[in-house]
Amino acid sequence: MRRFGHFWWDFVVGDDWRVAVGIVVAIGLTALLAATSAPAWWVLPLAVAAVLWLSLRRVAG
């Protein structure tokens, strides 16, 4: 069961769990902002750009 869980974690999340955490937080923020009258469409694209860059920087020193 543990190996099964590990396989799916590795399959979806991969070698940088921070990306998954960043995306979950960004979607949460998007949902919070979307619940108000303010436009929320820009949050996730910007979060994707930031999360991806931070993850790349971790590898490329």
């Binding site: 399959f11 979806v12 999340v13 991969g14 070698d15 940088d16 990306v19 998954a20 995306i23 979950v24 979607i27 949460g28 998007t30 949902a31 979307a34 619940a35 929320a40 469409w41 949050v43 996730l44 694209p45 994707v48 750009a49 999360v51 991806l52 860059w53 993850s55 790349l56 590898v59 490329a60 020193g61």
Partner: protein
């Protein structure tokens, strides 16, 4: 799929085609069962919930692909070399002990089965996520099946690993598409109304392409500076 073909070819050449092809066919059948069971189950979930969950999963999964493709394109990670993978699999297969089960060479069968199943799970994941959110799993299956046919025909034609396939370019394109759709559906599932609705999708696509190319350029400069 190219990786799976390389593994099956290596097993076929060294351990016999019967065991390798049986392993590949059993894996394809297992994947068909997974899609067949999960596909209808996903259609009963409300579309908003589905887009949120599928969008988030697709985005995390797509960023994994895109991250690897950017690192490879910028020289921070080695490009996958199908010729060396083929040689490695072949050497391992030649050194493995011969063990027969139900008339099959067990090593050739299991390695081909695992290779096709694990690589195929990525395809099944994409088929299920795209098919369920767009309400047409059969169309997504047809698209994936067409891609499998193309790869198999190419493998038969060259009778060797598909080393000339620009694999990182394909991975880059897949990563961009998964990230784009994941961003679009994930935001929609979180309650966002995109300006212009679906017409905004090409804008998100252009944005993901632009940042990816910019990151490749920036990391290449860093690589040169570190050298």
């Amino acid at each position: 799929m190219v990786e799976a073909l390389t593994i099956v070819l290596a097993m076929g050449v060294t351990r016999g085609w019967r065991s390798a092809l049986t392993g590949a066919v059993v894996a394809v059948l297992a994947l068909a069962v997974i899609v067949g069971v999960l596909g209808p189950a996903l259609t009963v979930i409300p579309i908003e919930v589905l887009r949120l969950v599928v969008g988030a999963l697709l985005l995390v999964f797509g960023l994994q692909w895109l991250r690897k493709a950017i690192l490879r394109a910028s020289g921070w990670r080695a490009l996958r070399d199908e010729d060396s993978v083929f040689a490695r699999e072949r050497a391992a297969a030649e050194g493995a002990a011969r063990e027969q089960h139900i008339g099959l060479d067990w090593y050739g069968f299991t390695v081909a089965f695992k290779g096709v199943l694990l690589e195929g799970l990525e395809v099944a994941f994409i088929v299920l996520t795209f098919g369920s959110t767009q309400g047409s799993i059969p169309l997504a299956i047809a698209g994936a099946a067409a891609a499998v046919v193309v790869v198999v025909i190419a493998g038969i034609a060259v009778r060797g690993p598909l080393s000339r396939v620009p694999e990182n370019t394909l991975a880059f394109a897949v990563g961009i598409m998964l990230t784009t759709f994941g961003t679009f559906w994930g935001a929609e599932g979180a309650g966002v109304d995109w300006p212009g609705d679906d017409a905004f999708l090409p804008v998100v696509l252009a944005f993901v392409i632009a940042i990816s190319l910019a990151y490749v350029a920036a990391l290449r400069r860093r690589k040169v500076a570190f050298a």
